[in-house]
Amino acid sequence: MSQPLLSTHALNKSFGGLVAVDDVSIDFEAAKVHAIIGPNGAGKTTLINLLSGDLPPTGGAITFKEHDLTPKKAYAISQLGIGRSYQKTNIFADFTCLQNCWLGAQSRMRTSMRFFRPAKAYNEVRARAERALELCGLTERMDTVASAMSYGEQRQLEIGMMLATEPELLLLDEPLAGMGTDESRQVVALIKRLAKDHTVVLIEHDMDAVFAVADVLTVMVNGRVLATGNPEEIRANSQVQDAYLGTGEEEAT
C-alpha cells in the first residue's frame, strides 16, 4: 500500500466524560474517495472537526504528508491544502456568492495584510473565485446575496467556498444533508467530478450516494472504527449489518 496522504493515529476526543472519538486510526489514501458512515452520534462530524482543526484532539496524532496536524489551528491546516465544508450551512449570509468565494480565493495570496490596492484589482483572486463558482454551478448566481438563495443552492455555495481555497484534500461533512432528489443528484455528480483530481473524505447518510462514489468506507459506531474496506467488503460485513446497515430503515438526516 502506498503512503497515505492523511492518517490518524489513536485519535481521541472527549467532551467532559463523553468520548466522542475513541482511539481512531484511519489511513486516507491519495486520490481516493473515502467515506465515513455510521449512525448519528458515532463521532463522524467530530472526527472531521479534528481533521480540519476546528477542534483540538484530546489525544493521538494526525499526519498530513510530512506535517503533524495535531497542534495546528484551523487556518494553518487550510493553508496546507485541506478544505472542508460544513454539515450546517456556514456561509456569509449577507455576502453575494462571489464575495463568499472571494475570501477563500484571497486566502491563497501570500498575505492579505494589504491595505491600499483595491481587492478587486487582484485578478488571480477573481479567477480562483469564479472557477469555484463554476465548479459548484453558481456562476449565474454570482451577484446574488447568499441568504436570498434556496437551501440547495446555499449547500452548493458551501462547497464552492471550500473549493475557492484550491484544496488538495476535501473534507465533506454531509454535503447532501436536507437536499431534494434533483439537488442531490447534482451534488453527487459534482463529488464524482471533484474526485478525479482531489482526495475526498466524505461523511454522508445517503447510502445510495455513498456506495455510488466511495472507493473506501469506514464504519464508525460509538466513536470507534468498526470496519474499513471497499464497498463490497463493507456490504458483506455482518458486524456492520448488525450495527448499521442491517437495521433496515435509513436515517432521514
Binding site: S52, D54, K73, A74, Y75, A76, S78, Q79, R84, Y86, N90, I91, F92, A93, D94, F95, Q99, W102, L103, G104, Q106, S107, R108, M109, S112, M113, R114, F115, F116, R117, P118, A119, K120, Y122, V125, M161, A164, T165
Partner: protein, 322 residues
C-alpha cells in the same frame, strides 16, 4: 462598498458646507464644528472596530486620551512643540498601547471583549487621575498648539483658528479616504468576513486573531490622532477624556450615526453635538433627559442610524422594494 452616486453627491455637498462654514459661521460655532469634526474622526476609528470587524470596544477613549496626554507632556511650558516630533510620538505611543491592549483583548470575544477593553481603559483613567504631576483629576493644560515649520519657515499657523479648522477638516477627509481604501483592500475583505462569520473565516485559512489585532491597532492609532487634535484644540486634557463615559459617548455617536458606514459616525457626531447645544438651551437643567429620549427614538425607529435614514430616503425616491 463604493459609495453610490447620490451618496457621493451628498457627501461632497456636506464637505462643501464644512469648507464654507468659516466664511459665514460665528467664531463660537466654528470652534464647535472643529470639535465635532474631531469627534467624527474619533467615531470613524471606532466604526472600524464595531461596524466592520465586529469588535465592540468599550475602552476606545483610552487611545484618544492617551495621545492627548502625550501631547501635553511633550509640549514645553513656554512654547510650542514641533508637530514633526509630537505627532509621530503621539501616534507611536497610542499604537503601542493598542498593540498591548489588543494582544490581550482579541483573545476574548463578545461580552468578555467589552469587559477587558473597559478594564484597560479604566486602568489608564485611574493612572492619570491619581498622577499629580499631570494635574490629577483637574487635568493638564496645553498652552501652545504644535508648530508646523520647515527650517525657519512657518508652514501653517495652527494657533490661527481658521487654519486649525481647515487642518482638522483635511484630517477628517484624509481619515475617511484612508479607511475607505483599507476597507476595499484585501485586508478589509478579511475583517468584514470576521465580522460576518469568524469561524468560517478562520476555516478558510485566515489567522483571524492577527487580523483583529491589526484592525485594533489601526483604530487605536486613528483615535490617537483624534486625541492629538482634541488636545491641541481644547488646550486641556483631563482624565474624563479617557474614562468610560467618553468611550460610551463615542459608541453612542457611532450607533446614532449608523455603524458600518464610516460617514454615518461623522453625521452622528454632528447630530449629537448640535442637539446637545440645542437641548441645553431648551431645558438647561435636564437636557440629558431630552437627549436620552432622542437616542431611544433613533434606536427604535432607525436601526441603521442616521446613515440608514439617508439610504432610505434615497431608496424611497428610486422606487425600490421597501
Amino acid at each position: 462598498m463604493t459609495p453610490s452616486r447620490p451618496l457621493l453627491i451628498f457627501l461632497l455637498l456636506a464637505l462643501a458646507a464644512l469648507a464654507a462654514f468659516p466664511l459665514v459661521g460665528e467664531e463660537f460655532y466654528q470652534g464647535l464644528v472643529t470639535r465635532l469634526m474631531i469627534m467624527g474622526i474619533f467615531a470613524m476609528s471606532l466604526d472600524l472596530l464595531i461596524g466592520f470587524t465586529g469588535l465592540v470596544s468599550f475602552g476606545h477613549a483610552a487611545f484618544f486620551g492617551l495621545s492627548g496626554y502625550l501631547l501635553a507632556i511633550l509640549t514645553p511650558e513656554y512654547g510650542p512643540v514641533s508637530i514633526w516630533i509630537a505627532l509621530p510620538l503621539c501616534l507611536a505611543g497610542t499604537a503601542l498601547a493598542a498593540l498591548v491592549i489588543g494582544w490581550f483583548s482579541v483573545r476574548t470575544s463578545g461580552i468578555y471583549f467589552i469587559m477587558i477593553t473597559l478594564a484597560f481603559a479604566q486602568m489608564f483613567y485611574y493612572y492619570f487621575n491619581e498622577n499629580q504631576d499631570l494635574g490629577g483629576s483637574d487635568g493638564i493644560f496645553i498652552f501652545f498648539k504644535p508648530s508646523v515649520t520647515i527650517g525657519d519657515f512657518q508652514l501653517l499657523d495652527l494657533s490661527n483658528h481658521n487654519t486649525f479648522y481647515y487642518f482638522v477638516l483635511a484630517s477628517l477627509v484624509l481619515s475617511y479616504v484612508l479607511l475607505s481604501k483599507i476597507l476595499k483592500a484585501p485586508f478589509g475583505q478579511v475583517i468584514r468576513g470576521i465580522q460576518a462569520n469568524e469561524a468560517r473565516t478562520l476555516a478558510l485559512g485566515f489567522n483571524t486573531r492577527k487580523y483583529k489585532l491589526v484592525s485594533f491597532v489601526i483604530a487605536g492609532t486613528l483615535a490617537g490622532f483624534a486625541g492629538f487634535l482634541e488636545a491641541s484644540h481644547g488646550g486641556i486634557m483631563s482624565p474624563a477624556h479617557l474614562g468610560w463615559h467618553e468611550s460610551g459617548i463615542v459608541m453612542m455617536v457611532v450607533i446614532l450615526g449608523g455603524m458600518g458606514t464610516l460617514y454615518g459616525p461623522v453625521l452622528g457626531a454632528f447630530a449629537m453635538g448640535f442637539l446637545q447645544d440645542y437641548f441645553q438651551e431648551l431645558w438647561s437643567d435636564h437636557w440629558l433627559l431630552l437627549m436620552g429620549v432622542f437616542v431611544i427614538a433613533v434606536v427604535l425607529f432607525l436601526p441603521n442610524g442616521i446613515a440608514g435614514l439617508v439610504a432610505q430616503l434615497r431608496r424611497g425616491k428610486g422606487g425600490d422594494a421597501p
